[in-house]
Symmetry: C2
Subunit: 346 residues, 2 copies
Amino acid sequence: MPRGTIETPVFMPVGTQGSVKAMKPDDLERVGAKIILANTYHLHLRPGDSIISQMGGLHKFMAWDGPILTDSGGYQAFSLAKLANITDEGLRFASHLDGARHMLTPESAVGIQENLNSDIMMCLDECVAYPSPRDYVEIAAKRTSLWARRCLEARRNTNALFGIVQGGVYPDLRKKSALEIAAMPFDGIAIGGLSVGEGHAMMMDTLDATLPYVSQDRPRYLMGVGTPVDIIEAVARGIDMFDCVLPTRNARNGMLFTSRGKVSLKQARYKEDSRSPDENCSCYTCRNFSLSYLRHLFISKEILGSILNTLHNLHFYLELMSDIRHSIEGHYFEEYRKQLKENYND
Amino acid sequence: MPRGTIETPVFMPVGTQGSVKAMKPDDLERVGAKIILANTYHLHLRPGDSIISQMGGLHKFMAWDGPILTDSGGYQAFSLAKLANITDEGLRFASHLDGARHMLTPESAVGIQENLNSDIMMCLDECVAYPSPRDYVEIAAKRTSLWARRCLEARRNTNALFGIVQGGVYPDLRKKSALEIAAMPFDGIAIGGLSVGEGHAMMMDTLDATLPYVSQDRPRYLMGVGTPVDIIEAVARGIDMFDCVLPTRNARNGMLFTSRGKVSLKQARYKEDSRSPDENCSCYTCRNFSLSYLRHLFISKEILGSILNTLHNLHFYLELMSDIRHSIEGHYFEEYRKQLKENYND
């Protein structure tokens, strides 16, 4: 990317409202983040993409110099807002903040992302709930292809634009969507509509039904995924890019990812535990603090708890990706995959 | 101090529950903190000073290598807990966390602080509300002197112990208390019972009535104070040490201290303001972010807002102290004092 080289497979920390929760930009650099994700829906509603544009774009606004990927806003319009209706024209919804009516079209989704000056823009797509009837999933996938063409036409700048494959958990619909989207001149192909309740096995089955029809000459991005096991299994199937709120959200809920598996600071067993959360971890949190202290911060609702837990969990995820890359280069990916699944078998 | 030289006058950021809210230890170092304060009451109740002792003391627990001053716990037993009674023996109170009954005596206050291994311990004192009848203030000051002697006798380690002057806003009671406390072999003398609602003018009058009777051979500490104007006026009267939650608490409420006066991020005027909060400030926040972004974070309730605002406000307070020290050394203190009061005239 013009703003920096990204080694894949890569994990992108989520900065929903123009901030990766509890992280300063220098903290993000320190944990090894190379690219982050921001949410078009949230930033469009508040503070507004026109204000961000006026402030010099999202990079300057949030003081993050690396690449930024933005979603299209569609998913949040489905999941957070009060959705009024969906037509081929676009999505009508009422803001979850103040109930104000908004319209998101393929053209406006690209326009907003251009205002943000995101390095990788995503097409507006129609993400369906799980489970959904086949007929509806088919209509949504068809509309996603229609919108994908309109997004390509709407683009005015030279930043990257990714298309999104839909099709729910129906192999033939996934194949059709993949062929249609991959045939268009996108800079990358995303797999959308997963991690919406279908479970790990069905997620992997759907990837198996989709990826053979997505050419390997462009990055492949699995949106909103996932657990360490989801990630390594998706990498095994050829996915290059991931984003997920798990490491950051779980951190704020007192859950740490460690090389021994998950650790919940809610457990009384850590009250007098002088060990660091993960003896194999070199992050700031593990170098300086005990489980006892982190549990105290969590129980006491101290902001520092969210900070230190987030630092650790993001470091864990970014080290995981680094370890995966090394295991591929060193030809021991299968061993690494097996071991990770033993530590994270739940 | 064995753990580091402290130039005075000094401001001590408040780390109530073993964490200066929203600050990592390296952030504290970065803003120039040399000594911090922690609250005995909070740490005694949670996680418990015996656990902190077991974890290697408070410095190791919170990964802060510099000196730590702890209060005696008395003030919070008055202000936060449900106070059962006060006798010469000590304070009986019910925890604000779970209602459990506790007893704080001069001896246990010192014992708890020794468990924490604080570098500067404070005597248990009886802080009275403002206003309080003269008779009661007299009894409380007398008891404070009694407890002061018992604290000195109870001390087992070689860490510093400060006595506390009480006496409300009654000049003769302050004089009596000051003479009694200053006659004892304390390592420093604190002025307690101020900043409890008496207002700036009466606070200064009380200092004027007290400080002539406190010898100048030991550091003098004005507890829980204050605004920039409180501080510079107290320095003018000979105070060396301060602590206050204002910079940290106000930060979380969206209020910034700047060289131009106070800035409230609640104000809509900052929505599209691309300037940094303080053009004369070299802190991380001012070097990287605009008022527009900080307002967005505040309105969006992002943790990063608390972090960046706290970084800035603590930097402001610690720079203020540094500027005061330079103005004294450079013989322009009176000019500096006048200018500061113009910027903070409210």
